[in-house]
Amino acid sequence: MKGKSKAIGRGGGGRLLRRDLIHEKVRGGATYLIAEDYSYKTGAYYRILTLEMEGRETVPSTKDLLEAYVVPVCLARAGKAGLPVCDWGISDDRVPLPSIIYGISYFADPSEYSIVQNPETADNVIKYVTGNGKYPFCYQPIPEGAEIVPCAAIFGRTADAPEPLADLAARVYRIFRIPLMEIVSVYNGGYRLSSVTPVWYSQLSRDEKRILEEILTGECR
C-alpha cells in the first residue's frame, strides 16, 4: 500500500512494530490504521472512533472491529457472506465433546479460546468462562481429529499458509477489513472459520513481520 503515513504514539523513530504506535496511511480517501491491538476501548479503537466522528472513512471501522471480535457475530456475518464457518451454539453449562469454547462477556478476552475433549476439562473451562455460571459462552463442536489452525493475516495476506487458508484469510479481510488479525480456523479436509482475534507483534513470524514492515514503509502495495 502506498500513501501518506504517520505514526501516533509516544516518542518517534525506533522500530515500526511497537505496541504503543498507531500507524495511519491515507489512501483512496480512506484512513488505514495499523495497530497491534484494536480491542474495544483501546487507544487504537478510540483513535478510529475519533476519525469516524470527523466523518472520515476508516479501515478498520469500530463497527467491524466489534463484530469481528464477538465470535457468534463474526461467524453469523461471515457465514452470511458465504464463507465456510464452524457450527456454533450458545450454552451456559454443557457442550458436545470435543468443542472449542469462547467466552462471551465484558470480561472475555477475544484472543482466548479453549479446546475441550473430556467432561472434566469442559467443567473447569466452563466454570472459568462463565464466571461460575454468570455468563453464557459460545461453543463450536469439532470433528474428532480436526486441527485448530491459527494464522496471522496482514491486509488479508498470509506468509506461508496453504492456498485454501490464504484464500479464507483474504475473504475474511474483505468482510471485516482489519489490517492485522489472527484467523483461527478448523481444518478437517477443508478450512472453516472459528474466530478472528488480535495478534501480537511478538507472535508474528519473520516473514509476517517483513510483509507488515514493507506495508508500513510503503515498499509494498
Binding site: K41, L66, P136
Partner: protein
C-alpha cells in the same frame, strides 16, 4: 398478529421488579393480539422466528445481548436495542462524542488518555473543570465506576483504577442537583418522564454507602407537565444516538438543561410507566407494527 421476542437472562428474571415489568409487557402485547416469546441466551437461534425483538438484559458490545441484537439485525428483524445504539450508549466516550457533535449541552467534558495521568495534567483538569470533578470509566452503568474526586491524589488514584479498564476515561465538571429528569424517548419522540430523586447520602442514582446499597426514588411525571427545554434536550440527545428507545438523564440547573447520559436499554421496572400507562403498547407497536400505537405516526404529524 405478530410474534414479539423478549430477550432475557437470569439476571433479568432474578429481580422481582423486572419480572413484574415483563409480565406487564407481555399482558400489553397479548391485549394487542400479539404472542410473546421469552428468549434466553441458549435459545438465541429462536430470534429468527420472531417479528420483533425487545432486549431486556444488560447491554454491552461484548456480551450476549449484542449478539442477540446483531442476530436480529442480520435477519432484518426490528430490534430494541439495535447494535449501533448498544455500541454508542455502552461507551461513555462514544456517547459524549455523539452528543458533542450534535450540539447537545452537556457538563464540560474532557477525555483523559492513558499516558496523561500525571499530577500536572490532573492540576490542569481541576483548573479547567473545577473541584470536585467527576471521573467515569466509559463502560459504567448504574453509576458503577463513577466517582467524585476532590483533589490531585484522589484523581490519580481513581483514574489509575479506571484506566486499567479503558485507555480513555471521562473527566467531567460536577453539576449538582436534587434530582435528575429521566425522559424516555422512542424513535425520536418523548415516551415517558420521571424524576430520579438522588439519595442524600450520595450524588449518584445508585451507590454503596457504609456497605449498604442506596437507590434513588423514582417518581413518574406526566409528560405534558415536563418543562419544554427538558423535553427538547431529551429529544435532541436521543436523536444524536439513533432511532431506538433511550432513557435520557438531564439535570436542570436554574432552567438550563444539561444532558448527563443517554441510556439504551432503559429501566422500565422502577415506576417509569406510572404516569405513562401506554408506554408498553407504544414500544410493542413500534417493534411489531400496530399502526394505532406507532409513536412516530401518532406524535409527529406532518412526517411522511
Amino acid at each position: 398478529m405478530s410474534r414479539l421476542g423478549v430477550f432475557v437472562d437470569r439476571q433479568t428474571l432474578g429481580n422481582s421488579e423486572q419480572l413484574t415489568a415483563l409480565i406487564r409487557l407481555r399482558d400489553s402485547a397479548e391485549e394487542m393480539g400479539h404472542t410473546v416469546y421469552f428468549i434466553f441466551p441458549v435459545e438465541i437461534a429462536k430470534i429468527g422466528k420472531v417479528d420483533g425483538l425487545f432486549i431486556r438484559s444488560r447491554t454491552d458490545p461484548l456480551n450476549i445481548s449484542f449478539v442477540a441484537a446483531k442476530m436480529a439485525e442480520l435477519r432484518g428483524i426490528p430490534v430494541i436495542d439495535d447494535p449501533a445504539s448498544i455500541q454508542v450508549c455502552s461507551d461513555k466516550v462514544n456517547m459524549y462524542l455523539h452528543l458533542m457533535q450534535a450540539g447537545v449541552r452537556i457538563p464540560e467534558t474532557v477525555f483523559v488518555r492513558k499516558g496523561e495521568l500525571t499530577e500536572r495534567r490532573a492540576r490542569a483538569l481541576f483548573r479547567e473543570l473545577g473541584s470536585p470533578l467527576i471521573l467515569k470509566e466509559p463502560s459504567t452503568s448504574f453509576s458503577l465506576r463513577v466517582e467524585k474526586v476532590q483533589d490531585v491524589p484522589g484523581f490519580l488514584k481513581t483514574a489509575k483504577r479506571f484506566i486499567k479498564l479503558s485507555d480513555w476515561i471521562v473527566a467531567q465538571k460536577f453539576v449538582e442537583s436534587d434530582f435528575d429528569w429521566r425522559v424516555g424517548v422512542l424513535a425520536g419522540e418523548p415516551l415517558y418522564a420521571c424524576r430520579y430523586i438522588i439519595p442524600q447520602e450520595t450524588f449518584k442514582i445508585q451507590a454503596t454507602v457504609n456497605g449498604h446499597v442506596v437507590y434513588c426514588a423514582v417518581k413518574g411525571h406526566p409528560l405534558e407537565q415536563v418543562p419544554g427545554p427538558i423535553l427538547d434536550a431529551a429529544v435532541k440527545a436521543a436523536r444524536a444516538v439513533g432511532e431506538g428507545l433511550y432513557g435520557v438523564d438531564i439535570k436542570d440547573v436554574e432552567g438550563t438543561p444539561y444532558v448527563i447520559e443517554v441510556n439504551d436499554n432503559p429501566s422500565l421496572e422502577g415506576g417509569e410507566d406510572e404516569q405513562s400507562p401506554g408506554l408498553y403498547r407504544k414500544i410493542i407497536g413500534h417493534l411489531v407494527g400496530d399502526e394505532g400505537d406507532r409513536v412516530r405516526e401518532k406524535t409527529a404529524p406532518g412526517r411522511p
